[in-house]
């Protein structure tokens, strides 16, 4: 176990170091984050009108919803690009020579990037929301650990989904269409539209898909925490996170066997 943590902990640490090289990207990303929150505020203020409510969300709660949803979205690693690049260039075959599990090392690498990006996106997002709409209504400190857990589970699920899509590069020349569809589903089922804004029939389908558990779950729990919702959203996130991670491992296993048979 000590070896496992030393091995993958080192991968994570080096990934964090490597990410610091892209400081300019971080700065532009942060500016985009502030801008998008401002645009959301303008949009939803118009929609809410004098009532000041949209699908049960006050403007304050809605902006905090988008802040958390965007934190999860913008805290992306380069997992998809790495997989595409390693598989297409044949580098994945070289990785198989090392005494570690390649996919686990990619998750450790992504975790390193995510920690660094979270440390920038969380303060920027919270500060912007504070300036635009003030502190979150009804916030209680006791909810905070569950909010953090939900954000981490959402990130893990998004990462596992990216891994599954990236690993399809073993069989397809271009998997950007899969990513595009997945991204749009995540956008419509949580990032841009909270489930409360969807028609009932679509909402009843959406809860059986992994997408709402990526952005909607953490954003909902952060903006309008209730124990009843936490009781189904958190287990849902865990279940989908584990299921998609296991699927990624299975897809990787098949891909690695293909490399063993056909070469990199």
């Amino acid at each position: 176990m000590k070896r496992f943590f030393r091995k993958y902990g080192s991968v994570m640490r080096v990934a964090m170091q490597n990410s610091t090289v892209y400081t300019r990207n971080f700065i532009f990303g942060s500016l985009f984050f502030c801008l998008i929150l401002f645009m959301f505020l303008q949009l939803w203020e118009k929609v809410a009108g004098e009532r000041g409510l949209v699908a049960g969300y006050s403007i304050n709660r809605l902006l905090w919803y988008y802040t958390v949803a965007e934190i999860v979205t913008l805290t992306r690693s380069d997992m998809l690009e790495r997989l595409n690049n390693d598989i297409r260039s044949g580098d994945v075959a070289i990785q198989l020579l090392r005494p570690y599990q390649y996919l686990t090392s990619l998750f450790a690498d992504a975790a390193g990037q995510i920690v660094l990006r979270l440390s920038i996106n969380v303060p920027i997002g919270c500060l912007t929301a504070l300036v635009l709409v003030g502190p979150l209504e009804g916030f209680q400190l006791i909810h905070l650990p569950f909010m953090i857990l939900s954000i981490l589970l959402g990130l893990f699920l998004s990462l596992s989904m990216e891994a599954v899509i990236g690993l399809t590069a073993f069989w397809t020349e271009d998997n950007s269409a899969f990513f595009w569809i997945s991204q749009k589903l995540a956008f419509m089922l949580g990032l841009f539209l909270p489930l409360e804004m969807l028609p009932d029939w679509l909402r009843s389908i959406a809860v059986f898909l992994p997408y709402p558990y990526m952005m909607y779950a953490p954003a909902r729990l952060a903006s309008s925490f209730s124990w009843a919702e936490a009781a189904w959203l958190l287990p849902g996130q865990m279940a989908f996170g584990i299921a998609v991670f296991v699927l990624a491992q299975a897809v990787y296993g098949r891909g690695a066997r293909m490399v063993n048979t056909n070469g990199g």
Partner: protein
């Protein structure tokens, strides 16, 4: 155990999709895909002694990389058996990973934006090298490969030669017993090539690391290896010492003659003239066709000789001649069939 690597009747076949040209061909390939079997490596037998430096040569597509991939456990052979450091590649893969090192000239093991030292520390952790052991090992490799001043420079800012020395160091951190070098001097200038070769020689001599080298650069082979195996079209066509290969082709000589005065090049009729200009001529002669005594006599009859240099065929041409012989033998075999 004296033998480091053995392979017996090692074979790898691939299935490649056949697609006829045009849209109709593409549609047919989807509806009724057809495949053809490609024999990438065909019953290769190999034995490499511990501490040996072996050159594994062949033209592009000969099956060199496929063989290396099988020996390192990346690829599963279609048939045949093999053993590296007493382990079976593929089957004992995790254990084998700790015992082998590899440098693939066109693929980097180092993080591009970080100093090489960070990558070394990461690789040390991946290969479970204890921190204090890693430090000692690093100190030794820094001295051996003369990379001390480059350790803290981001890899992207290193020259190709400096980077390659760091790549070699990265591959040796875990003290592998055998080092697979795939085109280690590709793209390097002559001075750096010489330096890298010297490093490889020292690693072999001082650490007893077995070296399995593939290269298109005959200089690597001549200066590093005593034995070479040549493969073409997946089959082994020669397994001999580098000296023996040279000797078998030594009857071909290249003679550079410098005359005191300009000469008439037509007077060299009967020789294979590679170059003739002013007072200098370069010829290729086959000692089997005429004795060196006769040849020199004829050359001296052309004019007053100021200087003569006689050299053997360059190794590159020898290897190329071996490939050509093999190709024409195959073609003949095919015609006969």
């Amino acid at each position: 155990m004296k033998t480091m690597l053995t392979a017996s009747k090692l074979t790898k076949n691939y299935r490649a999709k056949i697609k006829e040209p045009g849209l109709a061909g593409s549609i047919r390939a989807i509806r009724q895909p057809q495949y053809r079997e490609i024999v990438a490596v065909d019953e290769i037998d190999l034995e490499v002694e511990r501490g040996e430096m072996l050159a594994f040569l062949g033209p592009n597509g000969a099956g060199k990389s496929t063989t290396i991939k099988m020996l390192t456990g990346i690829l599963t052979p279609t048939s045949g058996t093999m053993s590296v450091a007493g382990l079976v590649p593929g089957k004992d893969q995790r254990e084998l990973a700790y015992r082998i090192g590899s440098v693939f000239g066109q693929k980097s093991m180092l993080y591009w934006h970080l100093p090489a030292l960070d990558s070394f520390r990461l690789l040390g952790a991946i290969y479970d090298v204890e921190s204090n052991v890693l430090q000692k090992r690093l100190d030794a490799l820094v001295e051996l490969l003369e990379i001390g001043e480059h350790l803290k420079t981001p890899v992207r800012k290193l020259s190709l030669g400096e980077r390659m020395r760091c790549e070699v160091a990265a591959s040796l951190l875990h003290k592998p017993e055998i080092l697979f070098l795939d085109e280690p001097t590709i793209g390097l200038d002559v001075v750096v090539k010489a330096k890298i070769r010297e490093m490889i020689r020292r690693i072999n001599r001082e650490e007893g690391v077995t070296v399995f080298l593939t290269s298109h650069d005959i200089g690597d082979v001549e200066q590093l290896c005593r034995r070479s195996v040549i493969i073409n079209h997946g089959r082994m066509i020669l397994d001999s010492t580098v000296d023996e290969i040279k000797r078998s082709y030594l009857h071909k000589k290249v003679i550079r003659v410098q005359y005191v005065m300009d000469i008439d090049c037509t007077a060299l009729e009967g020789f294979k003239v590679l170059q003739c200009k002013g007072n200098e001529a370069v010829l290729e002669v086959d000692a089997k066709d005429s004795s060196m005594h006769d040849t020199m006599g004829r050359l001296m009859a052309v004019g007053e000789v100021a200087d003569v240099t006689i050299s053997g065929m360059p190794m590159e041409e020898i290897i190329s001649a071996i490939f050509q012989q093999e190709d024409s033998r195959r073609e003949k075999g095919g015609d006969d069939a």
